[in-house]
Symmetry: C2
Subunit: 411 residues, 2 copies
Amino acid sequence: MGIKVADRLLNSARALNIMEEIGIDALVATEAQNVTYASNFWALAQWLRRGPQVYAVLSRESLEEESSLIVGTGSLDLVATQDVWIKNVIRYGFFSLKGSAENAAEGDWAMAEQKRLKELFDTPQHDGPATALAEAINRMGLSKGRIGIDESGISPAVLAELKTLLPHCEIIEATQTFRKIRAVKTEAEVERLTKAAQYTERAIEATFAVAKPGMTETELSRVFLRELINAGTDPALTVLGAGVRSALPSATPSEYRLAAGDIIRFDAGCYYQHYRADISRCAILGEPTEKQNRIYQAILAGQDAALAAIRPGIPAQDIYHAAMEAARSAGIPDYERNHVGHGIGIEGYDVPNLTAQETTLLEPGMTLCIETPYYEIGWGGLQIEDTIVVTDTGYQTLMSTDRHLRILNTH
Amino acid sequence: MGIKVADRLLNSARALNIMEEIGIDALVATEAQNVTYASNFWALAQWLRRGPQVYAVLSRESLEEESSLIVGTGSLDLVATQDVWIKNVIRYGFFSLKGSAENAAEGDWAMAEQKRLKELFDTPQHDGPATALAEAINRMGLSKGRIGIDESGISPAVLAELKTLLPHCEIIEATQTFRKIRAVKTEAEVERLTKAAQYTERAIEATFAVAKPGMTETELSRVFLRELINAGTDPALTVLGAGVRSALPSATPSEYRLAAGDIIRFDAGCYYQHYRADISRCAILGEPTEKQNRIYQAILAGQDAALAAIRPGIPAQDIYHAAMEAARSAGIPDYERNHVGHGIGIEGYDVPNLTAQETTLLEPGMTLCIETPYYEIGWGGLQIEDTIVVTDTGYQTLMSTDRHLRILNTH
């Protein structure tokens, strides 16, 4: 226990500023990603499916002392075994756990976990998530407060019950508030995003290293997935298409067999400690054709221009226009895209979106995927996608490999 | 294309009956699992995150001819490459795809996919998901119809727009309707669930086969995950705890090192073609103690009694009571549980839940996980969980391994 401030995912200063700006006394995370972001707590059941109710309640007056975590009794073991910085844990519902760990040896961490679990288990049991959440808000002295609740994860029945339990509270929706807070990353988040991106890069390179004519996309994808497993990540997205199938935007690995001259396009990523990677690298199995080279150089020029445009204070749409103009000048006159990238974090699509319409101003600490894919039915697709963080003066890449088109041996 | 009726996930007869029962003319799936269930179509973006809008609209009057699939243009390639039985595809939104595949050779399936993609791409583009969904309902002649919409996956803004586009429709919520339909499985579903369970069993056995003192839980979990990847499944749930950590209900693999005498408890599963496994097997690294044996025999007796109670027409709560009484008589007098299992299908928790309160009557074709875990802080946990299908006279297991406690060599 006792997580260091530097290891917190939550951008505390930004959260408190935004809570003040919109005039709320507490901010309640209810959806899996927001709960983990707000508390560092990962609730297995909540990530696995919709339904299980877990909340993090952030106090504006005393973030450190008065924030609370609301969790079902059956998930208390995850609290006992994780570094969660929120001190107050309020549990609800019945779950049978016998035994005790009174004699847990100090040096034995596995027994110390059992002891913490027993302590958590011995706290009062609340009837359900609504009573537990109301208790948290009442303990904060906010029975007449203004509360922002992330509406995306709370069940409608619980929300209705909560309103009857807290008749004098003003409750407002706050899912978009979380997205706004999450747009500017903390150090701990950038570290996780960096590892997610770099483990994915390594898995892609390991897959390119074994690609040869006759292998199927499925076989290739398993090389990639095993590398991700070995790195301790969880696979998230494996778009992998070869030959004409590289033109399929969401190419699902198939029994298609690689042939000499094929493009191999990866658009892929994993979760590393719940943070997403989403990157792209491409290879040619053999010598590239003139068209393969021309298209690749054009989308590379587009990505280069996007990267060169990045600096704090500019609207996100400027990046879009920079990329489009460069790709069009450099070899694809009719290049078209909805967007040339997007924010990334604990979700694959964070704020901002890099479209022609997006006026959000870039800020240092935003993490962005910059991508310029090209898809042509009957021919193939090529793509480059990198993850970067906006700095005070421009950007810094989170990645470790360069952006050239890989040329693979055919034997 | 041209999926066989036997390969359909949807229980068409049950869906039509229930639509008639509640008096709706069309039923709209909006959430990832319900869309896949209703159409066999798997939309990557929708499964990966909340937000992307994909719908399947089932027509009561003419399920075969008039049902529609609503999909963003950027996901059309997934329609072109999958077996989707719904004939009408309505797309919305801009996505840039150049090229053509007019000369696609008949024998080259990869080019044939490109040709289908081009055909889909050449259909009219609708502005957004609301206009596309309204178009589907209008084409069915249901502009004054009664429409059930799965409220769990449609965005509130789209639903509001839809109501203005279809002012004379009566719209009712239908998420629970899907859960009710899905409770009784089709052959295609049972086949997927069987493979999911059996691939998980094999991965567990392969992991037990290499377990030895000194290995960490993390190392063990990677053996398990690689086996799942090699089998072509996607990992979903890897609860794996050894020694005292086997008492942690959601044990997350850690750096704990196995010691002789430890319990190894798996509660785990994968996705096989989007269908879930959730099973449990346990082993002892060495000779079991008297208590390990006694507890295991008691929970096995509980599971045996639950299985013996299964037959069509009984309320689900009877299974709960049978399991509890047997486990208490057989060696754990104070055995307590919230439930002794649950339905399973395209979601990990389908109808019914096997609790003391559940009055749902069992029907042939329901697939159930039957589980009797025992958790004791400071000692450990043991569990048995199997997946079965209710038959006309009782049940049939979907699994291939027996239920004894595994005894592993320590060298």
